[in-house]
Symmetry: C2
Amino acid sequence: MGYRPNFEKGGGILPAIVQDYQTGKVLMLGYVNAEAFQKTLETGLVHFYSRSRNKLWLKGETSRQYLYLREVYVDCDEDAILFKVEPVGAVCHEGYKTCFYRRLEGDSLVIVEERLVSPEELYGKKA
Amino acid sequence: MGYRPNFEKGGGILPAIVQDYQTGKVLMLGYVNAEAFQKTLETGLVHFYSRSRNKLWLKGETSRQYLYLREVYVDCDEDAILFKVEPVGAVCHEGYKTCFYRRLEGDSLVIVEERLVSPEELYGKKA
């Protein structure tokens, strides 16, 4: 079975930070259960557990913007995970490199990243 | 009141990634509620909400290892927060710069960071 973080602490699900292996940019935060963690290690592609859809999903399964796993870290309490990855293109479903593309300035969120691709290109036009 | 993330999505509490503003190192993951978020913005020092103790806490209140806030980002869904900070000394209660001081190698966690200080020095010796 090998190592697994303390999923019990999070009721079976723990947060996973995704960071670009080369640039250090924080790309997104997702959630993993034991199965998603295992699948990620086995395949080398980051898998998450969707809390809204209650299912495992491979990041990139629709958009083809996969996250190639490079390194796995866990924190002192073993209830948070850090995946260092090599991303493909836009990680965010909004078409940005990172989901954290807005910075708080005063009372407003300001977009500070370039849009790489339109959401329609990533996921196909809605009919 | 100003901007606030979508705390309702997390049942009042959202995860906050803490990243070193200068080095890009991911330092820890904590949780904030609306009050902790507001206090962080007001004081420029990162505050969290402790889920186990059910209370607001100032990171560094005991250890003096404060996190000075530099920038705040929110993700596309506004249910995850990224604090870019200037840390003081060891962020982890175990005495390391980052809580993510162990990397998964094969089936084992391997310490890959230097210990900056002993936990006793940070928090005082237990009687």
